[in-house]
């Protein structure tokens, strides 16, 4: 490649031997092509975590409710209500002015995951609220049961639509993994909710949560690997820097927490510790994916190189 002043080589990082040669690419003074999301990580990655905890928690709560695990059911209903309330607060906070939230319900727009999410939260929030209120006060058990069921049906959507919310952008590390993100978020949400069940529920009731934790850990690890394979060179953003640290921590906590919960979750201290590990793991996954997205938007390499490869593939198909 000729020496071109505005060309920039992919940066080499210390102590790392690239398997494939670092991609050569050109850019405008190394400036990003797309704008990175301006969202605060605490608000939006925090919301991804809390929404998952709430949504999957409602499913576990309904299971516990149906199988007579009353203490766990009530604890999870309260945790889901708390998490979804904090979610709403985080979302409103991110808008800057709370009064602006009203415009979110101005239209119903399937092409906007954020619009769909607002309506979804509008339906899920009250259901989670009624379920929790009824469980805590013991009043209106029938209505409480219906609300528990409604929250359990809407909860999985609350937990997974955020994967679409992130993927439906030009951010390479998110859009490139648009097939995997909803499953990863579902697994991470299940890990968080089973963690909450382990922390808040008595050990006598926690066998389903221990099972769910194991299942979530397997799915979480598998989906993260699948996403990294799919992303190709953009997977660097999932493995390096702040995102890499967070996602590695998440993996260790998920596997450690799930194994400990599955094997020794009948002991109270182990149940609490592994539950906290799973909750922390889920938070690390969301903040890690968020950080990877920001990193992939900040470096023009991750926008230009995959698009250039796509173009060249198309050109060679056209000529051959």
């Amino acid at each position: 490649m000729s020496v071109i002043q505005n060309a920039r080589r992919g940066r080499r990082r210390r102590g790392e031997q690239p398997v494939v040669p670092r991609a050569e690419f050109r850019s405008y003074y190394g400036r990003p092509v797309i704008k990175k999301p301006s969202w605060e990580a605490t608000d939006i990655a925090g919301y991804f975590f809390l929404g998952g905890l709430a949504g999957a928690g409602s499913v576990l709560a309904a299971g516990a409710h149906l199988t007579g695990r009353t203490t766990t059911a009530t604890a999870l209903k309260v945790s889901s209500l708390t998490a979804v309330s904090l979610s709403a607060a985080a979302l409103v906070h991110d808008l800057g002015k709370p009064s602006r939230f009203a415009n979110m319900l101005r239209v119903f727009k399937p092409t906007s995951p954020m619009s769909m999410g607002s309506w979804l939260l509008g339906a899920y929030g009250p259901a989670a609220g009624v379920a929790a209120a009824s469980a805590v006060t013991g009043r209106l058990p029938r209505l409480g049961g219906v609300a528990t069921g409604a929250a359990a049906l809407l909860g999985p959507a609350v937990a997974t639509y955020t994967g679409v919310l992130a993927a439906d952008t030009a951010v390479p590390a998110w859009h490139g993994a648009h097939r995997e993100l909803p499953y990863l978020f579902a697994a991470s949400a299940t890990a968080a909710a089973s963690g909450m069940a382990l922390v808040a529920g008595p050990t006598g009731e926690n066998l389903p949560a221990r099972c769910a934790a194991g299942l979530a850990a397997v799915a979480d690890t598998a989906m993260e690997k699948a996403a990294e394979r799919r992303l190709g060179m953009v997977a660097e953003t999932w493995k390096e820097g702040r995102a890499g640290t967070l996602l590695r921590t998440a993996r260790a906590l998920t596997i450690g927490g799930a194994v400990a919960a599955a094997l020794f979750g009948d002991r109270r201290p182990v149940a609490v510790t592994s539950g906290l590990a799973l909750l922390a793991a889920s938070a690390c996954t969301r903040f890690g994916v968020f950080a990877a997205g920001v990193a992939s938007a900040e470096d023009p390499k991750y926008t230009v190189v995959p698009q250039r490869e796509r173009l060249e593939e198309r050109t060679s198909e056209g000529t051959s």
Binding site: V107, L153, A170, P182, A186, A189, N206, A212
Partner: protein, 281 residues
């Protein structure tokens, strides 16, 4: 669309980097000042499009391709863009006025949860300031990095293609101010024909690197309402080489989200079934 779709054709081969478009845009649209800094990026201190920069002139200094000494735009004369300075290792200067592309399939418009972003009767994409609630979703959705939230305000702003002027039958301020007709405004179909002719003309004149960008209705965004004639690869100008509207994959994403939600429900239910009657005191 009740009116004919209009657009911009920016012919960068005749851009002289005067930035009159930037100034005219700021003046007409009363776009606030957004910082004064020296970037050392040639003559570009504007840096990029953003909430308060709706036209941005890029300056690129690079070696002249194939030892060519001048760009024969005007027969027998040098052009403003490439004045021969003599000798080998000459540099050429690329200048290009960037703007919102007013995509046929606009991701910003698709993902906007309030309906603030809308398609006008002219086929352009405009933000309604009184509806925008500052969610910021359009910002990472744009494959060109055009739209942005204004600091301390939070709402998103971008080029309106001078919606007010179009309504009055006027051309946008940038096109009006451009002294070399690098920025051409008009019905999109007409501009596309004119652009194709201009590329042929440049190819015949010995400028093989001239190419159109964003003109093709079959590209990833359905063609741009504002397209360009470039003299190098798009990424050299800070443009994405193969932009795709992110919502093209949205139906697939919703399907995966639905399947993921059902897996969650099924997985947890399976755990309750598998552990039924066990481990309870």
């Amino acid at each position: 669309m009740s009116e004919e779709r209009v657009g911009f054709f920016t012919d960068t081969s005749v851009c002289i980097g005067c930035k009159a478009c930037e100034v005219a845009c700021k003046e007409w649209n009363a776009v606030p000042e957004d910082g004064l800094s020296l970037t050392a990026m040639s003559y570009d201190n504007t840096q990029a499009l953003g909430a308060s920069t709706w036209r941005h002139v890029a300056f690129i200094e690079q070696p002249r391709p194939d030892g060519r000494t001048r760009l024969p735009v005007v027969e027998g004369g040098s052009t403003a863009q490439e004045t021969p300075v003599g000798g080998d290792g000459e540099l050429r200067w690329l200048m290009s006025s960037d703007v919102c592309k007013h995509c046929t399939h606009a991701a910003c418009l698709d993902v906007c949860p309030t309906g603030s972003l809308f398609r006008t009767e002219f086929g352009t994409v405009v933000v309604q300031e009184d509806i925008c609630n500052g969610c910021g979703y359009c910002v990472p959705a744009c494959p060109y990095g055009v739209i942005e939230q204004r600091p301390h305000d939070g709402r998103a702003f971008k080029c309106t293609m001078c919606y007010d002027r179009l309504g009055a039958g006027q051309e946008p301020a940038c096109a009006k101010a451009c002294p070399t007709e690098s920025i051409q405004f008009g019905p999109l179909d007409e501009l596309r024909e004119r652009a194709a002719l201009r590329v042929d003309q440049l190819h015949e004149a010995g400028v093989p690197e001239a190419r159109l960008y964003g003109h093709d209705p079959d590209d990833g965004v359905g063609g741009d309402g504002a397209f360009f004639l470039l003299l190098d690869e798009p990424e050299v100008y800070g443009l994405p080489p193969d932009p795709v509207v992110t919502t093209r994959d949205l139906p697939a994403m919703w399907k995966h989200a639905g399947a993921a939600a059902l897996s969650l429900l099924g997985g947890v239910a399976a755990c309750f079934v598998a552990t039924a009657g066990r481990g309870r005191r």
